[in-house]
């Protein structure tokens, strides 16, 4: 097994791949990038989670694009079929394919990053780079809070049901059910955050000055060079695309 990827390396790789794919704007490349991301996710053991999350995002988007551009594309010239105002055009289908695969590639690549990166390592690496500690706190805290809150919502629902809450019924009943679940949840979270603020403040969280990190993430020189190369490549791709689109605007 080679040296593990530094979190910033995988972040740079994901962002640069997304930028290059967007700049290239060609669906075969997008499909190839998506497939590569899916294979990497499966090999990293996160295939099921990445693909589930991607499907939850991409299926509605894809269907929406297909309906929107497949049926209504006034700019289209090659009409394949027409029912009243709806016209299936080749240009519209191509547009939907292009836009859908481009978004799909970016989503898969970024999900591959976020589901394989170790959040504590990422936070430590970002802090070394001079990012404000507040940002790291929000990121790490939100990532740990999210699963905990889902569990707590279940507990609140059980408690309210044992007090006679009946889920279901008409819209008003359901809204009332949401209310008796929401208020305890929000109240508890706000109360807890007050305690957390006091604890953090007592440990000097709000003070300026240098921080010491207990966690050291090794950053091999080879990966630093790789990051630089990736950034240059992505910048070049973006510059080429912008220059090709607006040659007169003097962007290059």
């Amino acid at each position: 097994m080679p040296a593990p990827l530094h979190p910033l390396t995988s972040l740079t790789a994901a962002c640069c791949t997304a930028a290059v794919t967007t700049a290239a704007g060609s669906w075969p490349l997008s499909v190839a990038v998506s497939a590569a991301a899916a294979v990497l996710a499966v090999r990293a053991g996160a295939g099921r989670r990445v693909l589930t999350a991607a499907a939850a995002v991409l299926l509605p988007l894809g269907l929406s694009l297909l309906m929107l551009h497949g049926l209504f594309f006034p700019e289209g010239r090659t009409v394949l079929a027409a029912w009243g105002p709806a016209r299936v055009t080749a240009e519209g289908l191509a547009f939907a394919l292009e836009a859908g695969t481009r978004t799909g590639a970016c989503v898969l690549v970024l999900l591959l990053f976020s589901f394989t990166v170790s959040a504590p390592d990422l936070v430590a690496a970002l802090n070394v780079r001079g990012l404000p500690p507040q940002f790291s706190f929000v990121l790490a805290s939100a990532l740990t809070l999210l699963p905990a809150v889902a569990g707590r919502l279940g507990a609140i629902r059980t408690a309210q049901e044992s007090r006679g809450l009946v889920l279901g019924g008409g819209a008003l009943a359901r809204l009332a059910a949401v209310r008796v679940q929401m208020v305890p949840l929000v109240l508890g979270l706000l109360e807890e955050s007050g305690h957390r603020a006091q604890a953090l403040e007592a440990r000097g969280f709000g003070r300026p000055g240098p921080r010491t990190s207990y966690r050291e993430v090794p950053d091999p020189p080879a990966q630093r060079r790789l990051r630089a190369v990736l950034l240059v490549l992505a910048a070049a791709a973006v510059a080429l695309r912008l220059g090709a689109s607006w040659p007169a605007a003097g962007l290059l």
Binding site: V138, A142, V178, V183, R207, L242
Partner: protein
């Protein structure tokens, strides 16, 4: 992001809203103000650029260059806004941000169980903006979008719009629109108009459409009438977003009213600008 916070956030009860106080302008404060202005300018310039130079001919496929400009400009603006606001927020506000993100996601899903056709994914942001002010609201909106993108990368380009929602919600709270329940949805409606208009170019140029089937159907209707993609999506946003934000503001107002006074009056912003109706409790904590 070499911006080091040189000053402590002004301690004392009045530090809930760092923005909008001219007193005691130091270099660090001026730099922060410059960052804020640069962020707002980046967002405004990106929007104007996209609307003015929108690719007229989309028959050759989605415009990659416009997508790159939209992504780059709006993300840069959101990051600048976060960089300006984050280092000076008091710890009590900062610990609310993860809570806001979680509320955005969980309450959004919970409202989804009622079968209402809205997104309702900004409840937490608005709640924090009402309790802690416009700067906190903007930072919460942008940051929670960035964290959310770990699970759903498609929300990332909308960070600037989320920051705008948080900022406007904070302004509405400061000017007392949350003191009466019927005024909150009005403020939400206006916020929704602005947020929808700002977010439409992202949907049009980055994604080439909208993420949901319901919104997609509305866009289809406008496209069938011969609108350009950007015009159709802007009109769709003007239909859904004001309604959505009016509901979000109303829910946030109901939640704030349901919270005990002891909790809400812990926030300096709430005390200072008399955000909620009623008298301040006699005992103000940590004076």
């Amino acid at each position: 992001m070499s911006q080091q916070p040189l000053t402590l956030p002004a301690t004392g009860p009045g530090d809930g809203s760092a923005a909008g106080r001219p007193a005691g302008t130091t270099t660090a404060q001026r730099n922060r103000r410059l960052l804020e202005l640069a962020g707002a300018a980046a967002i405004a310039a990106t929007y104007l650029f996209l609307v003015l130079t929108q690719p007229a001919d989309i028959a050759n496929g989605p415009a990659s260059a416009a997508a790159l400009v939209a992504l780059g400009g709006f993300l840069l603006g959101a990051i600048l806004l976060v960089a300006a606001a984050l280092p000076v927020l008091p710890t009590s506000t900062l610990v609310l941000m993860p809570v806001a993100l979680v509320l955005n996601v969980v309450l959004g899903q919970l409202m989804g169980t009622t079968g209402l056709p809205f997104y309702l994914d900004a409840i937490g942001t608005v709640l924090i903006a009402v309790l802690a002010g416009p700067a906190a609201g903007a930072a919460t909106g942008a940051l929670s979008t960035i964290v959310w993108s770990f699970f759903n990368p498609t929300v990332l380009p909308f960070a600037a719009g989320a920051a705008l929602i948080g900022f406007l919600a904070g302004l509405a709270a400061r000017s007392g629109l949350f003191r009466r329940f019927y005024l909150a949805p009005v403020a939400g409606f206006v916020t929704g108009i602005l947020a929808g208009v700002v977010s439409a170019p992202i949907a049009a140029f980055v994604f080439g459409g909208t993420a949901g089937l319901g919104t997609g159907a509305v866009v289809s209707a406008f496209r069938a009438m011969g609108d350009t993609l950007l015009a159709a999506i802007t009109k769709q946003a003007l239909i859904s977003d004001p309604m959505d934000k009016a509901i979000v503001f109303a829910i946030a107002a109901l939640l704030v009213y349901a919270l005990p006074r002891r909790t809400t009056f812990q926030f300096a912003f709430v005390r200072r600008f008399r955000v909620l109706a009623g008298k301040t409790p006699a005992v103000t904590p940590d004076a």
